[in-house]
């Protein structure tokens, strides 16, 4: 019997499937080599480390498709293939390859289907007594309308088996449903469309490593933007700063039970929505997620290596781990806590809107970012500050901050406006926001939206007086022509444009560091971990 294993890469870099998956594939290859296997790679992306011929024991520079993979497996007589590290590209090949008689290592195609096929997944969660937003998979518009009426608008409409929230939309009325349903159906023809109750709440996610019995949660990431912004476009913080101990315990409990029920061998990612103390499971991805490199670096758990060992038959116990939430301070399983963490790491998305004329830059359920960065420091605000400037939200003190927000966001805007004023920024606001600020005793320069006349906020943007715009889209009308025009004006003039009130609050929270960056630290990231004795 051959000892060759073929690791499936993630193909070309696109929005939703970026360099994170290449990172995981490379680490899987190294882990397999450590275990004594001959680790081979198949991938066709010339930009990456995985296609460096130095990385594995063999490189097949071929498309990652069923036929091309099968040909290599047959030629090499491979023991099996690894499909859980190469993003949706690789995991989508698990079932067809298994059907062709290829051994899929780790989590089995049946378990993958149970997580990805909506009907099976609903049954699983129901049998485990784990809550999820009401809704189900449908195969016709009439059925979609029925579900929407049953659970009530707004509903989240999305295609199944697609990465990056492609064609995912929040739908507020039956009139809108037809168009978005067609888009979702078109994004993955032949597969059902998912229609779910849209819950507005706090989002969080976990990655889980399991050997089929035990399940290790290396960390919980709390999203900064509330539900409705794609997880790939959200800022996120590790460890959580707002989630209660009870909520964290529920998340870990659900994660461990789902991993065991599915028989996950390797990695899995779960997305949650939290309302009050109630935790809903939004989706389960039975593969390595885009947060694996981030969490691996800051938790001290070599996630891909541990997962690969599990995939190849080692138990978590034999590797010195057990079920539960990892604690970075003690480097052991522990209970969640709300005490100040030894350090904070904030992940922030980076966009390429300047290169893409006419693209709507506001955040929504469909992923738009091309990359990400990390800010790490001992204090949350400092980590936040570093994440913001590293992602390009970099503005000098002084200029105008233009505020133009939706009705629901006006309360929060008041607090943000006070902080901005205190930090020495000048405020400009469109009529609605201006009036609200005035009621609170906050002065701002009145500017008009584009169609309302002069002085228009566009003038401030184009004449270089604006340093930042906070513009939250009206619910259900993400892309009105005028709003998009304002946001594009910012993009084209190099003015930072923030479209989620939660991101704006994060900026306000870190504002004092923009004036005094020396309050942040600068050291190798391993030292943030080590200074609190967290690395093994």
């Amino acid at each position: 019997m051959s000892d060759s294993i073929l690791v499936l890469g993630s193909g070309p870099i696109r929005i939703g499937q970026g360099i994170e998956f290449d990172y995981s594939c490379v680490h899987c290859v190294w882990a397999l080599e450590k275990l004594g296997y001959r680790a081979l790679i198949i991938n066709n992306n010339p930009e990456t480390v995985s296609t460096d011929f130095d990385t594995g024991d063999g490189l097949y520079f071929e498309p990652v498709t069923h036929d091309d993979v099968l040909r290599v497996v047959r030629s090499e007589g491979c023991l099996g293939v690894v499909t859980q590290f190469g993003g949706q590209t690789a995991i989508n090949l698990a079932a067809p390859l298994a059907a062709s008689g290829v051994k899929v290592l780790g989590t089995q195609p049946e378990a993958i289907a149970m997580a990805e096929d909506r009907e099976q997944f609903d049954e699983l969660l129901t049998s485990l007594g784990i809550p999820k937003p009401a809704g189900r998979a449908v195969r016709s518009l009439a059925e979609a309308k029925g579900v929407a009426r049953e659970v009530g608008y707004p509903v989240l409409v999305r295609p199944s088996f697609v990465l990056g929230g492609r064609a995912m939309e929040i739908v507020y009325s039956e009139e809108q449903l037809g168009g978005f349903y067609a888009e979702a159906e078109d994004a993955n023809p032949g597969q059902p469309v998912l229609v779910d109750q849209y819950l507005l709440g706090q989002e969080a996610e976990v990655d889980v490593i399991s050997d089929g019995v035990d399940a290790l949660v290396p960390g919980i990431m709390e999203h900064i933007e509330r539900a409705g912004v794609h997880s790939g476009d959200s800022m996120a913080v590790f460890p959580p700063v707002n989630l209660s101990v009870a909520v964290q315990e529920l998340m870990v409990d659900y994660a461990c039970r789902i991993a065991r029920a599915l028989g996950v061998k390797g990695l899995m990612n779960i997305q949650f929505i939290i309302q009050g103390e109630k935790v809903f499971v939004l989706e389960v991805n039975p593969r390595a997620s885009r947060t694996v490199p981030f969490l691996s670096k800051i938790t001290g758990v070599k996630m891909v290596q541990v997962a690969t060992n599990c995939m190849m038959g080692q138990s978590l116990a034999s590797q010195g781990y057990k079920s539960g939430l990892w604690n970075v301070s003690t480097q052991d399983i522990g209970t969640p806590t709300l005490e100040k963490a030894p350090f904070y790491a904030v992940k922030a998305p980076v966009f390429s809107f300047q290169k893409l004329a006419k693209v709507e830059p506001s955040l929504g359920p469909e992923m738009k970012s091309t990359g990400e960065i990390m800010g790490i420091d001992f204090e949350y605000e400092a980590a936040l500050y570093k994440a913001l400037i590293a992602s390009g939200i970099h503005f000098k003190p002084g200029g105008y901050v233009i505020l133009t927000v939706t009705k629901d966001d006006k309360d929060k805007t008041v607090g943000i406006a006070r902080k901005l004023l205190a930090a020495g920024y000048k405020l400009a606001a469109t009529p609605g926001t201006h009036t609200r600020l005035k009621e609170e005793g906050i002065e701002s320069h009145l500017v008009m939206k584009i169609q309302e006349g002069s002085p228009s906020l566009l003038e401030l943007i184009f004449n270089g007086e604006a340093s930042l715009m906070i513009n939250t889209p009206t619910v259900g009308e993400q892309s009105t022509k005028e709003a998009k025009q304002m946001r594009r004006a910012c993009i084209e003039s190099g003015v930072v444009c923030i479209t989620s009130i939660d991101t704006a609050e994060a900026v306000a929270q870190a504002l004092h560091l923009f004036a005094r960056p020396e309050l942040s630290n600068c050291m190798p990231y391993t030292e943030y971990l080590k200074q609190r004795g967290s690395l093994r």
Partner: protein, 546 residues
């Protein structure tokens, strides 16, 4: 010299993707092999280069001058390697030097000297140098403010190209057909240029675009790694172009004329490391123009590395610390030195991957501003097979040369789809050819070289035969259809028997013995992959190149 600072390229954005993780990781490894201690700064955690095992100290901190200075103050490196972190790394290094920070902490810039980088990147200095060495550059104007822009509006021949200096992937650039377009795009470009500097030049629309990847060491030894030719003629950003390597439509005279020019340029600039030279060639004469030079490791050099097996970033890092090409071992063969020019006995096709499946409202037109987020590369023995393999691996709806959208277009509309470059133009061209439009008629619209169009016709001929159920399985496999594609196209009537073998990418077309297990599939008889399994390769080459 003991400790070296490497600056990474930060987050993935259009124009700066995973290629710099590959380059940076190789560079760190290469420097540590030479015994240096490496300090790294990069804000992107999703990279192999920021693994704690890659460097001696890894800073995941914002890529700003301020944080770089803090890293320098804390680590006190002796040298800084600026040319492996893309434009971001290069711009930061330039700012650190200009603000006196490198001098203050006594940090030496390694590799290509700053003066050479400026000569390559500053349009005015570059043009002056090209004139001095008598290399042709297209007539152009440099403007640094709106008044200067206004002055030249009536002087410039249209269409013209607008290129802002010091930006990523040509941000803010474009083509202008009228004074008004020049004014609008020009103003935008001035704002986006780090130096507020624009070059406006005569458009070479329709000329062939060719690139040479070249290396030079401190002693002046120069080699070409490979050349690459764009399927799309001038006017589309290289990052958005379909690229083949080696060039397929240049005559031997043209190949050597451009090679000589590229080597002359890298010498004149005094580059120490890898460098990319872009040239435009008149398809109807021997005229050519030098378009631009990237004095650093780039997306093209990553492609060239994978296309040839020659590790450009690794060798560049060694050159930066003073080694010469004849002293560096080629790790692919293990027997030759880095001064051997790679030889290719296969054809490479690169296809860009665009984000328009997600951004339906985006402008799909391609010009000098890059829009692709990623790319795929395919290796095979013919252009046809490599193209089909690349399409199959692109993970878009289209798996071959068929595209429902263009099949549904009326002739006139299709003509426009062929004329205007977009991410889907290749399929429009195929549809034109499928309708029996002559190669010359299609060429007139898209200016793509006849050679490529004839090759596409070859694939389309097989497509037609398969659709009518003719037993052409072998020919279909040869032009790159996979067994299930053949089954699907023929409606189950044609069943293909694979004669697949794996060939090695060894940098030397099998002239020397090679040990690197880097393979591609092709239809043939002699398998080079299974030979290397367990037993060592035969000492005599499979076939030798004279």
């Amino acid at each position: 010299m003991k400790k070296i600072l490497v600056i990474g390229s930060g987050p993935i954005v259009i124009g700066q993707a995973a290629e710099f993780d590959y380059a940076g990781t190789q560079a760190c490894k290469s420097l540590r092999e030479e015994g240096y201690s490496v300090v790294l700064i990069n804000s992107n955690p999703a990279t192999i280069m920021t693994d704690e095992e890659t460097a001696d100290a890894v800073y995941i901190e914002p890529l700003t001058v301020e944080f770089c200075e803090r890293v320098i103050a804390r680590e006190r490196p002796d040298g800084l390697l600026p040319t492996l972190g893309g434009q971001t790394g290069l711009n930061l290094a330039t700012q650190l030097a200009q603000q006196g920070i490198l001098q203050k902490y006594n940090v030496t810039l390694l590799g290509t000297p700053l003066s050479a980088i400026q000569k390559a990147e500053d349009r005015q200095e570059f043009r002056a140098l090209m004139r001095e060495i008598k290399e042709p550059v297209p007539e152009s104007w440099i403007v640094e403010n709106e008044d200067q822009l206004a002055e030249i509006l009536d002087l410039v021949p249209f269409p013209c190209i607008i290129r802002p200096a010091y930006t990523l992937g040509g941000t803010g650039g474009g083509i202008a057909n009228t004074r008004e377009e020049l004014w609008e795009t020009g103003r935008k470009g001035l704002k986006l240029s780090m130096r507020s500097q624009l070059m406006i030049e005569r458009s070479l629309l329709g000329w062939k675009e060719v690139e040479y990847e070249v290396m030079r060491d401190k002693k002046g030894n120069c080699i070409t790694i490979c050349n690459m030719e764009n399927f799309d003629p001038m006017g589309v950003h290289t990052g958005d172009s379909i690229v083949v390597a080696p060039s397929q439509t240049l005559s031997d005279i043209e190949y050597h004329m451009l090679r000589t020019a590229s080597l002359k340029i890298i010498r004149a600039l005094g580059i120490e490391g890898g460098c990319n030279v872009q040239l435009a060639v008149n398809p109807d004469s021997f005229d050519y123009y030098v378009i631009e030079v990237n004095p650093r490791v780039s997306r093209s050099s990553a492609l060239a590395s994978k296309a040839t097996g020659y590790p450009i970033a690794r060798v560049s890092a060694k050159i930066a610390v003073g080694k010469t090409l004849d002293e560096i071992e080629n790790p692919v063969t293990g027997t030759t030195m880095a001064c051997f020019e790679p030889a290719l006995d296969y054809c490479i096709v690169k296809l860009p991957r665009w984000p328009f499946d997600k951004f339906a409202s985006g402008d799909r037109t391609l010009f000098t501003q890059m829009k692709a987020t990623g790319e795929v590369m395919a290796i095979d023995r013919t252009f046809e097979a490599a193209l089909m393999k690349a399409i199959r691996g692109l993970e878009v709806k289209q798996k071959d040369l068929r595209h429902a959208k263009f099949q549904a277009q009326a002739d006139e509309e299709l003509g426009e789809s062929i004329r205007i470059p977009t991410d889907e133009r290749m399929w429009a061209i195929a549809e034109g050819l499928r309708r029996g439009w002559t190669v010359d008629a299609v060429r007139k619209l898209c200016r793509v070289d006849r050679w490529f169009l004839v090759k596409m016709q070859n694939i389309l001929a097989i497509e037609k035969q398969l659709q009518s159920g003719e037993q052409v399985a072998e020919q279909a496999l040869k032009v790159g259809y996979s067994p299930s594609q053949i089954l699907e196209l023929s409606g189950g009537r044609v069943v293909a028997q694979d004669h697949l073998v794996y060939k090695m990418v060894d940098t030397c077309a099998s002239e020397f013995e090679s040990q690197t297990p880097y393979y591609y599939a092709t239809q043939g008889t002699e398998d080079e992959a299974t030979q290397s399994l367990g037993t060592p390769l035969q000492a005599t080459p499979v076939f030798s190149v004279t």
